[in-house]
Symmetry: D2
Subunit: 303 residues, 4 copies
């Protein structure tokens, strides 16, 4: 085990010197046009400090990382009844697969595959105006990060809305099984906007402190619920690459297609990483590497 | 958090007073005829002590828990090359499903579904006589438990061999993709025998100390490998109930259809539980409950 | 073999005396509220005559039988290029399954499962206003039936549009693979309206004469194309009940969820049957029985 | 329509002048080493004559075409009860897929996919010695062909037995669902031997006369059963290429991986073709082409 500042510096240097950054997500122009050779790392430690390396004040699209926040908000509203509509098992399939949904009659495997996140957002929406639900998610993220300067990028949301045919298919499919309580367009509109929240790694790492249950973190989620959310991130946080992440990093985490990665070190730290080039599972390539290296050098694996 | 002796006593009493034990596995007479209303718990703690409650000197068939031991042995023999033949991702399907095997062209998802365990045993066998491989597994288990009085129940092995049509199908299927290097009958024979190892909860808990990396545990697996094995148990240890176990217990574990359950508390303890009645996923019903209660009362969740 | 009039009378009496009519489709009120104990049969024979029994002047919703007409129209417009967008193989799955679509990357198995019919309608639409495509289908049906009094029931179309979540999912899913060239809403609107065409069995039997290639039938489809359409009806006309229909009836046919059934006797006759109660595959229960009995008593099996 | 002798000559010449013969099956040496550039055609017509072109006296391995004969024999023994163990629907999957077997709990889709043929052979075996069942199949083939000089190639059978891991997997899988009544090895042994029957195209065309119900054919199968067998060949005779065959040839047929093809023209002719190079579905490439051309030039499509 070593000092976090040393580790951070060493890992950052080693990874930025590598040539292999992966490809950014191609499905919307806002993500596709980003230079993949970028890296930001921020770590909030138990002593209340935040350490960063690289472009830690650069805003990026958190995309699927927002599924954590909408899940927390939806559990606050629907309680454990949410688990009658969505499971908590790894799916063994890719993030946008519709296959299991048919054999399981409209109940998504977990809240982190797209279908499950759409159900979660639907539970949060619960008959209200989309902007009310979005205000609730944004309010939660801001409170967790203790930073009011967190916003939704409307252009990104609009691009998703224009191109998200697969997500529209999932929403209508869920509706066909009666597992969508709001009109599909409203739920999807909310979902596309929550994915378009922009944060810096500093903000995201700070928002993760509650889940890491470190001192000074806002008391928003009970320790009991934080543990369960971390468990979910461990088994389902990286789609069909979740086992690999658990194996190599040994920490709960959630990735987004924008290249963001939130990694929780229970009781010890909250780590946010951003690097927009992706690996074969659709997770940040350099980000996953950074997480593995930091975990190893700091002795942070929970196993 | 409380004292382990208090917790153990309280959990044992609460669970044994429950009427709902579940049904033992029905597919072979040796398992089917067991009275489900039985419970044993043993816990090895970091101070080198072993605490037990219930029938902790009763032998039971470890079944799929043996997959941990054959995996350790196979990794010792084949090294990381084993991962070219079997993955490390949760499957999202039941323990004996053959479906994914077709779409993934003969590469099982992980070493804990039956197909993956058969490949693991095949890698361990590697052209030798089955009895050599079995001696190696038994030797490993005995060394980990520091107890030479651990044996294979030949009747149980014979029963499995007689009735294991699904496993035979898996083996020939793997062979059809060239992912079995020994004759299917030899690999299966070895596999059926390793599943028929009998242990008490005391022996099993002691064998788990190495994975828990607690003081005094035999140095058989490096800390690095132990962490990876624990990660695998977390994401894949309970088939399509793995997410639920992570969610409710928050610890890596591996179950067997004989009602056994090995649970690892990294750095702190190794827990073995036995209760032969099963839940819907084929895992010990009372055992899973004991694990969740102990984890909660001791504050042992790794999340 | 016997006389068609005798056969018709005998079959009609035997089937109407049966109590077991099945249940009408429940998903839209217009179909659900229909009394299942109704039967109409019309047969156009090679001598140019049309014989009927039962409610042969009653209008019913042709539903999926419309897929034949939209396919003929789309082939007229797109030619054999249509087969690059949709296959001609039986699917082995139910009419609205989305599973194969994922493994085959957005190319539906055949034009008679819903996904395939949506692609077909999309090819027919080809950038035009939906009402233009609908006029083309209606014009084709009227020409084939030589009867201008055939219309679309707007209420049924509206009901489908309101409840067709599964079809919306299929359309967006096809779009996500680039296999929908028009906006999903426009293609679906056209599709829902074509399904809402209403006909009597007399009109439908007359519309089938072209496919039966009997004297006096309008020359709308070449003998070569008629043969291929009949082959498609044989292998794919009844979803996952196609094999059973081929086995028991021995004739190409296409069913609709409204209880209609068009059966072709190549070179000899065109049969339309309507009875709104359905069997387990979603095909007319009494209708299938009538088809089997008529085929047998007339010696009409093509095998 | 034209004269059969002219057609036969023209088709033979056109196809043999083509360079594209496809690849023979590679999984056993007996099939793999055959020169693909070979063609034999024999046609038995309603006037009792047999016309041939090419290597019509050359023996080839009938492989899956034997499934027709074992089905006829099994239906003779088990009657319609066989249909409780195997379905009559196209599978939409390849000949040796195990996937559907899991979702349908051990009941194969139809008797022409490998799993279904193994069940059929098992029903025929019904507790007897394999050689008894094989004698029954051989006896049936000889009676249908009116030729006693038809035998099993023991080398081919032995090769299949050595390499048939996928079929062994299917057999054990069926056994795991209780859908195999004999020991898997006995049923498989019988199955591998029936596939190794050798015939010339003359013999095979003559054996098909009963199904074509042409004058002079041995009365072995009732017209009712012949029709049903033809229907099965139409919907399921070419695995996941059945729809394509129906579409292009318009006749019931059954292919074998040895390059054989039996095509039935109900009431008119029985056609046997052999050319060992295969297309993507595992059916004879030149053979399929010959069938399509003959059907078209003779006007033999049943549609």
């Amino acid at each position: 085990m070593s000092d976090i500042l040393d580790s951070l510096k060493r890992v950052f240097e080693e990874v930025t010197q590598e040539a292999d950054w992966g490809q950014p997500a191609q499905y919307i122009p806002e993500l596709a046009e980003v230079d993949p050779a970028q890296l930001a790392i921020s770590v909030c430690t138990a002593d209340g400090k935040t350490h960063s390396a690289g472009l830690s004040d650069k805003l990026f699209s958190i995309q699927s990382i927002s599924k954590i926040f909408s899940l927390i908000a939806a559990l606050g509203r629907a309680g454990d009844q949410l688990w009658t509509r969505v499971g908590c098992e790894p799916s063994g399939t890719s993030f946008d697969s519709i296959v299991l949904l048919e054999s399981e009659r409209g109940q998504p495997r977990n809240p982190f595959v797209n279908a499950g996140a759409i159900v979660t957002t639907d539970a949060l929406l619960s008959g209200r105006e989309p902007k009310m639900a979005l205000a609730e998610i944004l309010g939660l993220v801001r409170a967790m990060a203790e930073d009011d300067n967190i916003h939704i990028n409307a252009d990104v949301a609009k691009s998703e809305q224009r191109t998200g045919e697969r997500n529209k298919a999932l929403a209508h499919y869920l509706a066909s099984y009666g597992n969508l309580l709001n009109p599909p367009d409203l739920t999807l509109g909310t979902y596309f906007h929550q994915c378009a929240i922009e944060m810096t790694t500093v903000q995201l790492a700070r928002a993760g402190r509650t889940l890491a249950r470190i001192d000074g973190a806002p008391k928003i989620v009970s320790a009991h619920h934080a543990r369960r959310l971390n468990a979910l991130m461990m088994t389902c946080g990286h789609y069909d690459g979740s086992g690999d992440f658990a194996f190599k990093v040994g920490l709960p985490g959630k990735s987004g297609v924008g290249g963001g990665l939130l990694v929780i070190v229970p009781g010890k730290a909250s780590i946010a990483i951003w690097s927009p080039g992706l690996n074969a599972y659709g997770n940040s390539k350099a980000g996953t590497r950074v997480a593995a290296m930091l975990s190893q050098s700091m002795g942070w694996s929970i196993f």
